[in-house]
Amino acid sequence: MIDGVLGGPVDQDYLQQARQMQAMSFAVHIPLVCFGIAFPAMVLFLEGLWLRTGDPLYRALAKRWSKAMLILFAVGVVTGTILSFEMGLLWPEFMATFADVFGLAFLIEGYSFFIEAIFIAIYVYGWERLSPRTHMAAGVPIVLAGITGSLMVISVNGWMNQPTGFSIRNGEVVDVKPLAALFNDNLWHELVHMYLAGFIVAGFLVAGVYAFGWLRGRRDRHHRIGLVVALSVAALATPAQLLVGDWAARTVAERQPVKLAAFEGLEETTKGAPFSLPGGIEISKLLSLLAFHDPNATVTGLDSVPEDDRPPTGIVKLSFRLMVFIGSALAALGAWFVWLWWRRGRLPRSVWFYRALVAAGPAALVALIAGWVTTEVGRQPWVVYHVMRTESAVTGASGVPVGFAVLALVYAGLATVAFVMLRRLSRPPLEVGP
């Protein structure tokens, strides 16, 4: 345990509000990260189809998507900036004590962000005056920077859950090894989990826009292509996500057993632990099976640590279930599409498929945020797992509730305007050139 270099814990009456403000800021930003990860690849795929087939419809659609991509990126730039500021504004003691351990990741993220900003501008504003090949090539760094950027942010999150690359002597952080912190063991499964989530969220949201049009009778080729490309991405990523989710859960079971206990609300350490379903149904030994791939494995319970060191169980359990349930439902929806498309070469005809697809985007968003709530609230009461408590990290400044309220208002306004503008962007018929 460590208190921090700025003088240790301070009086802060609004720790909860500080956490909620941070959570809100993440919840607003993370959907945009999904688009940052997935949209460039989807747009480039369409442009590639255009270069291969010469069909101008692909180009027109890629161009329109790229404009939406730019708007979403711009909103992501500013909401991401809020996060950077909040690191210091809300958690100065955390930053002051540990930023030298994990900061390298953010430096590389900063460069990724530069590359994204530069090439997104060249790509979106360069449609008419760059040669087609140069233009397509300008899109590649956006995709790569999307990967390295999320890799680095995830690295920091992985590190907070399993801090490595330093030692503590006499209450001070010493022996800092930035590379060991950067490549912590949580990095890979968290990265793949988030990367796939990006494709699922962005894919289903975009597909939902076209499914909505489909239900309204807009079923021309433009809508069909938009739907198939976006849906394919989501439908392929979702089943893979179930496997990665299993990998992630087993890693948590091994390294953060108390967090896993919170997923299930397991009070006592149990051999052959059961998994309870909504409605009071209990499947015996399923939790042991899921967490360790062994029905008789012992699962650590919440009682293994003092009450003060346990995360709030209710919300973690609820979010975990929500994520798993929505993820499974989305996988089923995706499988419906993939099977028909593969076996019969056509889209489903049932109107219920399109209704489900309209709901799938927002549902994927909920699952995404629920997943982050699971891991982040599940980490509590620690900001740096088993090293620094969240209450030791918080700012001593006053006015947290005021800041929270103002930011909530600004974000509500921003979300409304962004939604209206994006909707407007999708309306007019495509201008298909020669």
Binding site: G4, L6, G7, P56, A60, L70, I71, A74, V75, V78, T79, G80, T81, I82, S84, F85, E86, M87, G88, L89, P92, E93, M95, A96, T97, A99, G103, L107, I108, E109, G110, F113, F114, I115, A117, I118, F119, I120, A121, I122, Y125, W127, E128, R129, V176, P178, T395, G396, A397, G399, V406, V410, L414, V417, A418, M421, L425, E431, V432, P434
Partner: protein, 339 residues
Amino acid sequence: MLPDLTAGVALLALTAYVVLGGADFGAGFWDLTAGGAKRGAPVRAMIKRAMSPVWEANHVWLIFLLVVLWTGFPEAFGSITSTLAIPLFVAALGIVLRGGAFALKGEAATIAEARALGATFALASVIVPFFLGAAAGAIAAGEVPVGNASGDEWSSWTQSTSILVGALAVAAGAHLAAVFLGADSRRAGETELVHAFRARALGSGVVAGALAIAGLLVVRSDVPDLYDDLTSGAGLACVLASGAAGLVTLWLEWRERFELARYTAAAAVGAIVAGWAVAQEPYLLPPELTVHEAAAPDATLVALLVATGLGLLILIPALTWLFRLALSGRLVYEDKPRP
């Protein structure tokens, strides 16, 4: 050595942000003051055209600066962000409003919508540099002690040095924007706009110069230590260089040599930032925390410097390409494909 190099990287990022990001905020100032919807339309269109492809990249310098500060000087970072929470939070909100409104106003369908978003963009463009400047002024004035919110959350940044630095940041950004936009207008062959921006560049240059001199006088009475360092040795050299570059800019604008003026205007503003850094040296948070005391362990600084160096090898060619394309007018979004 390592701490000084790291501080140098932070200074580089700060200078790039003040010049490039500052000019984007300055463009917002000219948007705000461009007059009614009809009269101001050409000025606003030029601003939009010039800013659209580059503002996001320019903004990243701020993120880069924050990251270098918190990685290289974490204790100072935590002290700054907790004591100066108010001006920094207001600036962050301004950044959200400025960027959000700018990105979305292109899709506005009615004059009322365009006005509301345009006004948000323009107003926020003045707020951000003012509050960031005020925060910088607080550090320079020695109002940020080491600790978690140890300084006064109001008086630390409402003293006269902060207010003057805030005002100077707005004026310097406006001056840079006018100079850059004048050169852009010349490239685009918009003769009337060339003259409009030339007049603005001359006027804002005089105001920025006056504010810089006023700032020196305020610092002389309020922060004598800083004043002494600004008026001797390397500090004095920066002050004189800034003044000289500012005068040359005015002369170039007068003679309508707009492309060259870009560089002298940037040098004038950059020299102010450098002067502040040199005058504060060896302190990061005067009067107690030096750059060396604040620095992260060597292992972190080495990793940071190596990563910075490698990153610059990619960043510089990429940025160069972006600016060349933008300046040669090849980055313009058109909804209808060209025949």
